[in-house]
Symmetry: C2
Subunit: 275 residues, 2 copies
């Protein structure tokens, strides 16, 4: 009997090939920046929220689109407990909080209700958020992407003019593997990558020593390998986590915090490449 | 003009309602245990791999099905670099490593290739792994689930007899929100929940102090609230991360490590409820 190695069949492979699409900007917005990671739980949402607030503090008009249908974080992180209003029953007004226009699937359902949805339903929700929300004269819309390389990523890459992606990762090797897959996906789908962030870089307890809990240097190395910009390190910081859990992100709550200042510095780089 | 609150339309809601399905066990296996978290990056895969190895050390025959199509971890965590063999061109043999039968999408593609797939492709891959893999006389098959409450979770819940789910979370509130959604999903889909694990509970550096980096007690509280079993705490441990990154999980590499012993204790509880 002949033992053969198994590979993906042609029909599977065919579906991963890129096609051309008409890409439109999200109505009411100038630039769309997606925050992605491919891997979940690396602090992507905490980064996205603080990133948006830091952009606002540089006098930009900013919106946040929480595109994580299965695990929306925006309602909790921004203490939003109201439902969006509609004047015509078709479109929705974003909710204003901390001077930022916000939209999330979490505004439409109870916070503990799971969205037990197959892919096409997710795609349809994403289309609603990009086409039916009355974003008002935004310089930047920040899209908090879900983990993975599936329906949401494909819908954005194929149908929306995404001006840049920031990829967030912890330095752990197993997370970086997902990041590499993410980079290859965005390159393949021709979405420009603005740079990589090394999140949860180290923890510095009261003894003053730095502990590289998740490893060291891996994100910068990955950026170099793929010829992408390295945007900086954000340490593990208990204040950052507490503020996210409390519904008022650190950049808004304590703008002078050393970690808030890291965000503002990153922001200046990013803003400078657009405006 | 009349401002109305927006809710999910009926057609969206209809799709979240449970239906009845014929559920079959995975061929060649006695019990299927899924490791889930709804939230990514909480250490679910590290837990799943060490969990499987601890079960093996209790003289069970164990397999691991890596069901995370977008972010497979098994090839890296178990140092597997070979492709599965097929004798008839239809079925696949699992790969044996550390005495465990293994299958992952990562065995079929290069480790950095992203699976840029929409939902139906994911479902089809999951069906291949549950129907076309020659699992051989296993007591337990451990399924490492992806984050979310989407296609993979639905496919398992509707088509496969899952004997129990273990839910892994960090104590961070924003992670617990996803966990609550996960619990509600499995309850709705009538998949029994074996219990909850509090992962990355605390970090204890050389100064001996305990730092609750991600918060404290939230997982146990959530277990109580939903009337589920609390299975225990696993600390943040640099050895645990290094061993996962190095391709030989801690329970296999250092069975006497204090963290390995936590796994063996959890295992005894779980094994006892089945065999």
């Amino acid at each position: 009997m002949d033992d053969k190695s198994v590979k993906l069949s042609g029909s599977f492979k065919g579906n991963t090939a890129p096609k051309s699409f008409n890409k439109n900007p999200i109505k009411g917005t100038k630039f769309t920046i997606a925050i992605s990671s491919a891997k979940g739980g690396v602090g992507k949402s905490t980064f996205a929220m603080n990133f948006a607030l830091a952009l606002k503090s540089l006098n930009c008009k900013v919106g946040i689109l929480d595109a994580d249908i299965y695990g929306p974080s925006l309602p909790k992180m921004f203490s939003i407990n109201e439902k969006p209003k509609s004047e015509d029953g078709k479109s929705m007004k974003p909710i204003n909080q901390y001077g930022i226009q916000c939209m999330s699937i979490g505004f439409l359902v109870d916070e503990e209700t799971p969205m037990i949805w197959r892919g096409p339903m997710v795609t349809s929700a994403i289309k609603t958020f990009t086409q039916k929300v009355l974003w008002n004269d935004l310089d930047f819309i920040i899209v908090d992407m879900p983990p993975g390389t599936g329906d949401t990523q494909l819908t954005f890459a194929q149908e929306i003019k995404v001006d840049g992606v920031i990829i967030v990762s912890t330095p752990q090797e197993i997370a970086l593997l997902d990041v590499k897959r993410g980079i290859k996906m965005f390159d393949k789908l021709k979405v420009p990558i603005l740079g990589l962030i090394d999140n949860m870089s180290f923890f510095q307890p009261e003894d003053g020593k730095k502990y590289n809990i998740f490893g060291e240097g891996g994100v910068e190395k990955t950026a170099k390998k793929f010829n992408k910009k390295f945007l900086g390190q954000i340490p593990i910081d208990i204040d950052l986590r507490i503020s996210a859990d409390s519904g008022k992100p650190l950049v808004e709550k304590t703008p002078d915090h050393k970690v808030s200042k890291i965000f503002t510095d990153i922001e200046k780089t990013i803003k400078g490449s657009f405006l």
